[in-house]
Symmetry: C2
Subunit: 228 residues, 2 copies
Amino acid sequence: MTEIPIPAPTAHQLFEKLELAIHEHQLAPGTKLGEDDIGDIYGVSRTTVRAALQTLSHQRLVEHKRNRGAFVAQPSVREAREVFEARALIEPRTAYSAAERASPEDILKLQAHIDAEHEALADGNHGRALYLSGQFHIEIAKIADQQTIETFITQLMSRSSLIVALYWQRRAAMCESHAHDALISAFADHDGPRAEELMKNHLVDLVTSLDLRNKVSAPLSLKDALSR
Amino acid sequence: MTEIPIPAPTAHQLFEKLELAIHEHQLAPGTKLGEDDIGDIYGVSRTTVRAALQTLSHQRLVEHKRNRGAFVAQPSVREAREVFEARALIEPRTAYSAAERASPEDILKLQAHIDAEHEALADGNHGRALYLSGQFHIEIAKIADQQTIETFITQLMSRSSLIVALYWQRRAAMCESHAHDALISAFADHDGPRAEELMKNHLVDLVTSLDLRNKVSAPLSLKDALSR
DNA sequence: GTGCTCAAAATTGTATACAACTTTGGTTAC
DNA sequence: GTAACCAAAGTTGTATACAATTTTGAGCAC
């Protein structure tokens, strides 16, 4: 059997791999991300790993503990509340703008997102379904054509993904909701006020489905988590 | 004359130096930030410079042009509009919360900020006055006790600083306004609605004092800008 | 068994070296 | 005079090396 050399990922590609692994809950909050360990797994030097980890750290997906190393971030209960308060402040208005601007192509794109989400669910890939449902919110910001707001929402979705991993007790609940379908309908009607209200309620539903008392995370070792 | 060796800055210290230099308009938008140049000036290696530039890049204070190098960011007119739209979405509500929560110590802190701002103005240090007036907005987010929102506002202030450098035709105008004094008064009265309204108007005033038609920047060379 | 000491291991931060890729400017052919 | 081409310089991205700091753990005293 001939070994086909896998090209080493660039720093940015490594960042994207790790980001996705965190978003899809392959890497649980609290998992240690040793620079040497990651370098060995992906065949890159610590320089490359450090660049990727720094980017993840800026996005607050990983936390650096002084002289202990990098870990997948574990948002506190307080941070969890703040993230959803911020989303409640920003996203309804964004949905309003998106509803006013949405083109037929935009609607189709959103629908495709939902379809992919359902497909992942059918495959039992809950992590991916969760990731896609987050992307749905980012797509809305794109439709609103507000790049600055979009970067904020992207950051909030990243944090939300970690929060869900830590505090979500009943994972099935979210995906069963048809809040996203209702939003699409409002977009199709260009009904800004309705989209705003739907988004507001959707976020309230999300918060109330969290249990901010208990953490339910179970950090795995790095290589166990990445070898699937 | 004995040379006293200046300790080389750490990557994070270098980042802070450059961040401040940009915020205070020592480094104009468009200034090229060569890795070797900065390394020579501060006596550090490219590794350290790259780490600092990556952080600045993530904050969108610098832009990396492919194989051309790093430059102090030049927000486009579109970005300028978006930044102030985002501020209009976030800051009034934050001011409302801050007014409800402000303690007497908070008020004193804000007052001290304004005093320092006036002092800088009296010294003719417009760059520093502008920086301090930005910090005032961040202090409000701190009082509102919303760390997530605070990071967003911090990012928006960074961008605003660049926008002011590029599009502000009459620099004196802002600093003469007493909008910040009025806000403090509303905070002292714990008058949330008034604070929200004042902030809203303050932001409108800021936008209208911009001239989004012309860029008024004049990038200097790096070492000229930093040797003052 | 508990607590202290010290050495070994681990980890970070930074410097240096090097290869690949662009851009640039000058030279040459036409 | 113009266009193509090639070489040189500049720049980036990554690997490796090394010093400094901190954690860890084993051994020992009590």
